[in-house]
Symmetry: D2
Subunit: 347 residues, 4 copies
Amino acid sequence: MITFENDYSCGAHPAVLQRLLETNLVPQPGYGADAYSENARQKIRAACACPDAEVFFLSGGTQTNAVVLASILQPWEGVIAAQTGHIHVHEAGAPEALGAKILPLPERLGKLDPGELWSLAASLLADENIEHMVYPGAVYISHPTEWGTLYTKAELQAISEVCKEFHMRLYLDGARLAYGLMAKDSDVDLPLIASLCDAFYIGGTKCGALCGEAVVFPQGAPAHFCNFIKKHGALMAKGRLCGVQFDALFTDGLYSEIGRCGVEMAERLKIILAKHKIPCFMDTPTNQQFAVLENARYNAIREKVPVGFWSNPDPGHTIVRFATAWYTTDAYLEALDSVLSACPCTE
Amino acid sequence: MITFENDYSCGAHPAVLQRLLETNLVPQPGYGADAYSENARQKIRAACACPDAEVFFLSGGTQTNAVVLASILQPWEGVIAAQTGHIHVHEAGAPEALGAKILPLPERLGKLDPGELWSLAASLLADENIEHMVYPGAVYISHPTEWGTLYTKAELQAISEVCKEFHMRLYLDGARLAYGLMAKDSDVDLPLIASLCDAFYIGGTKCGALCGEAVVFPQGAPAHFCNFIKKHGALMAKGRLCGVQFDALFTDGLYSEIGRCGVEMAERLKIILAKHKIPCFMDTPTNQQFAVLENARYNAIREKVPVGFWSNPDPGHTIVRFATAWYTTDAYLEALDSVLSACPCTE
Amino acid sequence: MITFENDYSCGAHPAVLQRLLETNLVPQPGYGADAYSENARQKIRAACACPDAEVFFLSGGTQTNAVVLASILQPWEGVIAAQTGHIHVHEAGAPEALGAKILPLPERLGKLDPGELWSLAASLLADENIEHMVYPGAVYISHPTEWGTLYTKAELQAISEVCKEFHMRLYLDGARLAYGLMAKDSDVDLPLIASLCDAFYIGGTKCGALCGEAVVFPQGAPAHFCNFIKKHGALMAKGRLCGVQFDALFTDGLYSEIGRCGVEMAERLKIILAKHKIPCFMDTPTNQQFAVLENARYNAIREKVPVGFWSNPDPGHTIVRFATAWYTTDAYLEALDSVLSACPCTE
Amino acid sequence: MITFENDYSCGAHPAVLQRLLETNLVPQPGYGADAYSENARQKIRAACACPDAEVFFLSGGTQTNAVVLASILQPWEGVIAAQTGHIHVHEAGAPEALGAKILPLPERLGKLDPGELWSLAASLLADENIEHMVYPGAVYISHPTEWGTLYTKAELQAISEVCKEFHMRLYLDGARLAYGLMAKDSDVDLPLIASLCDAFYIGGTKCGALCGEAVVFPQGAPAHFCNFIKKHGALMAKGRLCGVQFDALFTDGLYSEIGRCGVEMAERLKIILAKHKIPCFMDTPTNQQFAVLENARYNAIREKVPVGFWSNPDPGHTIVRFATAWYTTDAYLEALDSVLSACPCTE
């Protein structure tokens, strides 16, 4: 069995699972007060070069986005995001359910444009009716974005400066951060992110863990954040489950290794797609590749291998996501190559 | 290291972890559409003798209580619970955050009294001002209760009849259901619960899993419940994590075995407490024993072994929870015996 | 036609209506920026001897309670109230719908007892599990209470001291404040309330206005409170409607006169009830009198004059509210006397 | 004093105020059970040719939009609206605060285009990831729109058909409905609206009342809607206040007369704007005219007469709203003519 449907199709990276095995019967306090969570927090602080950061572990990405955004927004504020932002499109309204109205901006290769961000914030704050509107209180970006693209260091700095100018918090969704950090030619690393963001999360679920995301507040967390997590149903009794996993992920470079594997497999995937004359929707340096397929070919392929539906750019075509991950092997790629050969272009 | 602090101090039952290992690299679809989750659902339906039940897996208890209650209540309804109910006291307001006002009743050994339940529902619905009040829409019970006590079959039937009379849904929180099902002399089993409740959950986190609770709707789930879970941040991308674990828990009687172990260890714990002249707050047939300690003795004990603070019945005493679980061993009990010998009564 | 059903059965005090007539065609800005609202704010500040108070006008009591409580509570906090508190019983869950869990205390003649308040706050804040619970963040009292009773100056000071000790905000619901301020022997006035409370409202709807409540924050309002009001649907476009009315109510002692009238009529009502051997549920110095009637007599009376159902203390009796107001006249009382003569005691 | 700032600058139409005076001292039950409210409901049903409609009175527009939308949406649904829709831009996030995520569409002269609506609904419902998204459950339109434009009968029918095809409810915000109904050449009347919408409201605040909006559910209201109103702080104790006013508004054609006056004054306003070479942003047949002014001229004008800021199409210009209403007189127009003469074009 193989799959390119997403990057959460298998369990945990074997080294993560091994660590769960080793620690399984050592009793620990609950709710994140265990020694493994503390170790993981220390390692994450070190990786971020941010010794005073506060770190929390939540179980999933949508939950994390909603809880963190709600915690950093004031009641009169909303969050600016790209129209394609995960929080705006694929979270079933979870941020709004916690009170965070989303102020959408057009996406530019999946990203926010610093100039457009400046204009929106400036025009909102200059609006004479602002007290009847939603103030721009935070900016949501994802890195990699929903299209698998990456911000450059200069872009992140520009966005951060806009945020500072308008007293907006900068929040980065790092669901697939491992793949972003290890992309070729990227100049963005964890210390940079920690130096620019007010909050961000290091994704576990899609980067080698069974579940779990590590939320980092470089300058400290909102007051009583643990109570806030509990109130929104996101406090795990066995906090150790995330603690052990992130401890493993941040030991001996495993998180980087996972990212590197996913990216390398994606580069080889691109070659296979090109060989079969499948155009990519945009050039993407991370582990998700978005291909444009005529519907007949899409349907033929999906019968043989799981791939991810993304959208219909027109009635006759489908944009399809091919995702690699730490568990993608040569055998996966070879099998895909065969499938694509058996499903030629129909146009 | 030993602990009696709670029943979620260790990882997973070894058989559960073994199953995670075996299935780790088999790719599966996300969000609960995997084969393991489907197997687990079938086994749970069989165990409940309820072939048409709908089953969902969520990651934790507070989340499950809030999401399920919100899904079964109408906007004009609230939920009746014992004053000691977990949703009322120890969930940081999570149910209210999703719109479920709690209508408290006195607890009788941790339980709701069917007669008092009848009176409350009847008086609310007869109140001429009810349209300015909160209608009784559901009844929350836990089994075992927060005091570790159990309903009898007759009590559950009586409560169910009151619910039916007043068109209230009956919801059972089974965070520690394994220990309740295996308690000596209990006449309550899963088919009975499934026949009486509109919704309940079979606890995993405290009964051998790393995380996860299995929500069962015997007569079918609310419409679009999966979207509702997502909206409230509770949909796991790797649904397989819960699926594999519950598949293991409901294979070869493991869930019962876990319950049996916890209860047996609790029975032996009771003997040790009695030997050391430590009175229990009430007689409890499950895995939690609530002991009344003078504060000095409590402080002496907690320095040597983790136990759970519960409450202060008076300024000089503390009610302390001693919890057993599937991981409690003879060595745990022997060590406790020694600790208690070293911390004699101070009164 | 006469009525004793409540204190909002008629329109506005004629002097209030007259002021609406006089100002009707003078154009003014919206949303509370009109000159009448500003006048009213100045007069209320003067009446409260609190020149720096911030004052806002909302349209009704339930709305005001929910919005103000939500604005002064932190996400981890709830509000302590008497079990009989209006917010707990008769607001359809409105405070909880805005996130304010209510922590109930027993009522003592409708009031909170300062000692019991101290004990609850102290025990919550000492609870080792408080991070899983709801912190006590505010205290809700009503003056007059739901039973028409009044706090003394000493009681309010004692409650305020408890609040200060535990960093809780004190909020006073003054839906019927006019009647409380003018009750015989009360030593509580507006400057005292303003000196002790963090927020309170001066009721208009039940004290002579068509609608409207004046919220007072003696030490300043929460940031962007106007936006908060808007967000919760409570910002009136024609803010002048409340402004003009409160301007009139706080001109030439009208608010006091309204209170005095209601109280005086209630004193005469008590004499009539006593003459007809109708016992009061408790001794009440304000405009609401709660009488205990056998059900047959209650039903006979309500056919002839509107009175208010309150509750059933036992299956054979009903507690009935007889409310007076600024519009209660001698003719009302004489008509009631006749009705009661025609509906004798049936026991 | 004159104003063109908005259409809620004065009190009530004199005939409305007169009716409040006449009824002031007639006691009535609270919460909308009064005879005046019942009369008003009957007259509205008749005006809508919809004898089975359920009618409720709320105090303001933002409140009404949020409460009604929340009541007609299922938990998995959101509401489609134009990007310029009042609920999306000028309600401080009130709909989202009650759980209604807004799905924006481009505006076409302030309106939704039926074809674009069809495409959005169709593409959402065909999306394979819809269970992670927000279903289109309702469509919000305003008539007149935020730009003062009007739907034609054919456009409303086309939108209604799209709604029916996709099982979406159609909701119409009629804050300024009087002016829309009386616009020249409009073929939309109340019976048409009632026949096409699942819910709509007839605006009072901006059409002659002190406050109040009449919500109409032509096919019946959501269950326990009165409780829902209460829960969201929108139930008026003195329901008579709205009842009396709408009774007056729907007696002897007053609502139409108010609309006719506002529209006629707007037509004369347009002539004055044209005379002074002030371009309108678009051709608008109702009581709001949006003029494009260079900033210097805008600032000169606003010092002499209140007008409404709308937006900045570019840094040097401002779009300004000139609103007429039932209280706009010849003297208002003459004064404006003089002001504009004194503030010539600066470009």
